[in-house]
Amino acid sequence: MSSREQILGKIRKSLGRGVLSAEQISVLEARLATPPLHEQPQVNTDLALQFTQKLQKVGASFSDVENESLIPFALIALLKEWELPLQVVIDAHLQALPWTDDIQCAVRVAQDDDKVSVTEAFAAVAETGTVALLSSHSPTTLNFLPETHIVIVHRAQITANLESVWEKLRQQNMPRTVNLITGPSRTADVEQTIQLGAHGPRRLHVILVG
């Protein structure tokens, strides 16, 4: 007998039953098909306000632009403020923005020495100040290798709770990776002292559009 059958058999034996009946299975199928919505923490009706408050609480920063076409300028201003070279790696969806010659944009996966990446979020969660990024939209390495990670979030993408992100995601095939990112990389492994930038980005910045 394979371990698979052994394990499944032992589960049934321990539960004191045999294989589930067709009827029981259809009840479970229904639960999977329509996932129940459980209790959710209260969220401020001003979603953008709560989202940005939570962002700051977890050590991320944010800025606003009125529309997409202003992103390149906002980005240049940020890089200058942080005294970083005007070079970024972006995801392919951002290529269409009105980039100028002032800044170098590479469209590829991240490399070890990249300083700044810019990626577009799939959604954002006001409850916790979280951004959701999909591997089907941008290379996952962009979220982790560079020291500074900039995420583009459209105001309309901000949802109250994580469950709404799942609802939106259920409209498509589940991507290889869904990254829920809440603040920069951190560790407390040395004497419980929080230190940012353990292995991932030391800085997480959100540009809110709209």
Partner: protein, 472 residues
């Protein structure tokens, strides 16, 4: 991992006298407790979430076969493979085969308690692979050749000075010869050293906090980002996990995530919560091209049918050990195996045998704090008591202790007499035990009383308080 649980008494004695350990423990303890309290006080829904979390897990366990099969079929549909392992040896063997087939030389690892449970590193190293732990805490203890002493903070027993010494010793080979002192310097140096390992790894192994039947996803909850570099950069990603980690849907996992972060570190959400589903898709530029999930049993199916079933709800948050007075005094290593604290004292006897671990269920004052703080409402003290009963019934106890227990059982069945005696003098139990009764029987009693005072009973007995509260 080597089993040292039979030496609990000796190890606890040593731990109580280890000043560096005591310093590290006292630093950690308050932090965990305060952060958790602040997080749950800020969430009025926390109690409701606990009840819901418990119900979700109970529902899943009742239908575990269904959800595991569904999870498996979803993983396969997304190009991944699921491997079932009845025992630790089988799980190690499966991972060795996958790693050999991948022609791997360097294997990076994210933190996995199941990996510790099956002694995965030893197996991989014996087979010639270079294994690099990438969670900073795990990396520190790998350099020190020590097991983790806490399930979410594996190096919590190490002081900064010790970590500085370890890095100084092991990082010279990379040309990093300066001895470092501050936390930022130490974290930065580890970042530099581990970066090159991430980029050269052929196989990445992570654990999983949850498995999602709805989508076939595995979920990791981290703060450093090491788990994500481990599952994204190498060509092959292996998830080493166990069967009770499955939950039905993404919504169910979300409820449990709200409980996990707050109970573990007081975070509403950790920096990175990552859902991994199958292999890299066509046209994508990064991500693993092979995806394997190894599902371990190792006694869990037996627990499902006995008095330890509730333990399968455990989401490995660590709150029970953070609030345990015994853990707080002796640290995790005294417990002698992978899982320390109250949850470990329940699990270890089930995994390595009650005979080898019979001291652990006694390494508890049954004060009940673990159950109070457990987000999954697991009745840990009841299960510790059950182990004691089983040890008694299996004749594993010394005669003197058997007598003390018999007397205690006699009294427990006669509450009026018990309360009367208990309110006269708490030490009476000791007297009834022939001058060496229950309290002194604590396996590490000598070391315990040598190093600290037994707390004087304050005010009314628990029973009296309970009665007063009930009538209020």
């Amino acid at each position: 991992m080597q089993i040292n649980s039979p030496q609990f008494k000796q190890r606890a004695t040593v731990a109580l006298q280890d000043m560096r350990l005591q310093k590290a423990l006292s630093k950690a303890k308050g932090g965990f407790i305060d952060k958790r309290l602040a997080a749950i006080s800020a969430l009025p829904e926390f109690e409701a979430l606990r009840e819901r979390g418990k119900a979700i897990k109970q529902h899943t366990l009742e239908n575990l076969d269904f959800y595991l099969e569904r999870f498996e079929s979803k993983v396969i549909a997304q190009g991944g493979k699921v491997h079932w392992a009845s025992s630790s040896e089988e799980a190690c063997q499966l991972i060795l085969e996958i790693s050999r087939a991948a022609n791997a030389k360097v294997i990076t690892k994210g933190k996995s308690m199941v990996g510790e449970e099956i002694s995965l590193n030893e197996a991989l190293e014996a087979d010639g692979f270079k294994v690099v732990e990438t969670d900073l805490g795990e990396y520190i203890i790998q350099l020190a050749h020590e097991p983790p002493s806490h399930i979410i903070a594996p190096a919590v027993h190490k002081t900064r000075e010790q970590i500085s010494d370890l890095f100084h010793e092991h990082h010279q080979q990379y040309g990093l010869t300066q001895k470092l002192d501050t936390v930022p310097e130490l974290v930065n140096e580890a970042r530099t050293v581990l970066r090159s390992q991430f980029l050269s790894a052929d196989v990445g192994i992570t654990g999983a906090n949850f498995l999602i039947a709805e989508t076939g996803s595995t979920v990791i909850v981290t703060n450093e980002g090491n788990g994500d570099l481990t599952n994204t950069l190498p060509r092959v990603h292996i998830v080493m996990t166990s069967i009770e980690k499955v939950v039905p849907t993404l919504n169910d996992a979300t409820t449990l995530l709200r409980l996990l972060g707050r109970s573990a570190t007081g975070q509403e959400m950790t920096s990175y919560t990552t859902f991994t589903t199958g292999v890299r898709r066509e046209g994508e530029l990064d991500g693993a091209q092979e995806f394997h999930v190894v599902l371990l049993d190792n006694g869990r199916t037996t627990m499902l049918g006995d008095e330890f079933k509730d333990m399968l709800r455990c989401i490995r948050c660590g709150a029970c050990m953070n609030h345990c007075p015994v853990y707080g005094s002796v640290g995790g290593h005294a417990y002698g195996w992978v899982y320390p604290g109250p949850m470990g004292s329940v699990l270890t006897p089930l995994m390595i045998g009650l005979k080898a671990a019979q001291d652990l269920p006694n390494a508890s004052t049954l004060c009940g704090r673990c159950e109070q703080v457990c987000p999954m409402k697991i009745p840990l003290p009841t299960m510790l008591r059950q182990h004691r009963i089983n040890a008694y019934e299996q004749d594993l106890m010394p005669t003197r202790a058997r007598w003390a227990l018999k007397i205690w059982a006699y009294l427990a069945k006669r509450p009026a007499l018990y309360q009367k005696l208990a309110s006269i003098k708490i030490g009476i139990l000791g007297f009834l035990g022939g001058g060496r009764g229950s309290f002194r029987y604590l396996p590490f009693a000598g070391a315990w009383t040598k190093n600290r005072d037994f707390p004087a009973p304050q005010g009314k007995t628990f029973m009296a308080q309970w009665k007063a509260r009930k009538s209020a």
